[in-house]
């Protein structure tokens, strides 16, 4: 069975009295260890698809299995648990906690996992930061790091809980081309280490990094 198995995913938003369909029956399959890009212009529904695949939102209709678990029916706390265990998010704007050191930032998902002491969480976070070449930055705050470094901290945070997949949203959108290339190299390494990556982007050069692309337009998969 595929790692991501989404079938007939539909999402309808109610805006006042009008129903606005954002997704109209999308099928997505991603295998374990794949590196997939989801592309499409803004307003195409790719963000909505990302939210559903990332278990932040539930589909109005359709079936979604992630790593063998049926997600379509889950809400609230159960969904939060799945997010914590199976999904590692990387955002365009890094979204690190400004008042925490980077090691505390990376350790944060483990806090919500439960069962780890603070010392244990920080130990794992530091090991991961070392692995991504940020060992000398441990103990610093995000605003003391460059954009590329911050995004790599975000990657470390997404990896710390050993999720089933990384869900990446425009990872180079806020970076210059040099830092962007550096971050993309990091993703390549992470993928080579056996991780599944689903990346949402509208940048064709970035999408070219992936093994294959899924193109979304008007809430449907375009060829």
């Amino acid at each position: 069975m595929s790692l991501i198995n989404a079938h007939g995913i539909t999402k309808v938003y109610r805006l006042g009295r009008v129903d606005v369909p954002a997704l109209r029956g999308v099928d997505v399959q991603v295998e374990q260890g794949e590196y997939v890009a989801i592309t499409g212009p803004s307003g195409s529904g790719k963000s909505t698809l990302m939210h559903i695949l990332g278990c932040l939102d539930s589909p109005s209709d359709g079936e979604y299995h992630l790593d063998g678990a049926d997600i379509s029916a889950l809400r609230g706390r159960a969904l939060a648990r799945i997010r914590n265990q199976k999904v590692g998010f990387v955002f365009q704007t890094f979204n690190l906690m400004p008042r925490m050191t980077i090691d505390e930032n990376v350790a944060l998902p483990l806090q919500y996992r439960g069962g780890f002491s603070r010392r244990e969480r920080l130990k794992r976070a530091r090991a991961l930061l070392e692995r991504l070449g940020l060992g000398d930055r441990i103990g610093h705050r995000p605003d003391e790091l460059s954009g590329g470094e911050r995004q790599r901290v975000a990657v470390a945070r997404s990896l710390v809980g050993e999720p089933a997949m990384l869900l990446v949203d425009e990872p180079t959108g806020n970076l210059d081309s040099k830092a962007g290339a550096e971050v993309l190299r990091t993703f390549r390494e992470v993928h080579n280490a056996g991780n599944t990556i689903v990346m949402v982007t509208h940048d064709m050069h970035v999408a070219a990094e992936a093994q294959r692309s899924i193109h979304i337009a008007d809430g449907k998969i375009a060829a």
């Binding site: 939210h51 609230g76 939060a80 997010r83 998010f89 919500y112 996992r113």
Partner: protein, 423 residues
Amino acid sequence: MARQIRDWVSEWGELALDALREIWSHKLRSLLTLFGVVFGAASVVSMTSLSAALKTMAYDELSRMGMPHTFELIDRGPRADAERAADLRHVGLSIKDVRDLRNVRGVDAVYARDWSDARLVSTLLDQRVIPVEGVDVGYLSFRNYPIVRGRELVPLDIVNAARVVVIGEELVEPFFGTADPIGRTVTIDGLRFKVVGVVAPVELELVPADFSFLARRMYVPYTWVTQYHRGQQRVDQVFLKVADDADFPSVLESGRMYLKQRHLGADDFEVENSAADVAEDLAMADGILSGWNVVLFTIAGVTLIVGGIGLFSVLLISVRERVREIGIRAALGADDRSIRRLFLAESLTLALLGATVGLLGGTGLIKVTESIAQSFGREFTVPVNMPGAVMAIAFAILVGLLFGWYPASRAAKLDPIEAIREL
């Protein structure tokens, strides 16, 4: 169980640490927020301490001016309306009674006294009619009348019915001028007495009682009054001090029965319960103070609640500011409970911080009050009232929970999608 408690403590410890970091990053805002809670806690602890100190002081003064654990036996003179034979046989209180009453079980001490008679007192400088009382060994200390010079009456004075006298402070100047009166002589009803001590009025700060009459009296051995002056064995009054650990009512009753038996049933004395008077005064002081306490607690409570409202609005602002952060945390797997805990921890940490600062401030206020009182020459110590401090902390926790709950729940109810859209 122990493990669960340890996990719980470490979790909330971490939350509190994060909250402190958050609070520290908004120093001014946190400071302003905390004012209400700080004042509330400070007023709770200072008011309760002050009230407790006043209570101690009032209790102390009432016990000093009254006679706790004491009852009196009072001689009743011959009765014109005596009908029973026993009443005709009345003998009244005698020196022998005084001596034997010491053997009643539970009685600590016995003090005899002869009421004052106006007597002509003179020295070379002056002559006046002064009330002169006959008293027992230790009677003046028993009544807490301060001896400011010399000594009070000692056992030999009583046994010998010695002609020695303790005089009131105000009588020193007219009778002796500026000279030291100790060892000098006064003439009472034509007999020469040696002055051995000077007694001053009881000083009271709170209780509105006037003891200035003490300074205008003289005290001689009661045995002299009884034996040589009145020429009979009669004593006017006996105070019986009951041991602290004895059962007061039963000692009082056995004292009464003892005397009644000795007097063969004659109804020639009265019993007066002085301890009851003290208890009544203490109850009255209690009533006044608890009335005060209600007012003080209302003020303190209102201040704390106002502080809570400040906390409430700042938390609402904090939740709005941190929508983005809430979204990130939700994406990382925080559920509604974790988010609520995050903000409850902030609320509780703020409230506890305020209470701690308030406790320190309240303690400072107490110290200032003490030093002001001392600069006026009053010995007024106010110990910090522990129940008050505990109450201030408990109240702050309550306020933190109460006013933190709604903002925290609002944060917890945020839709992660809405929160993440703010990104």
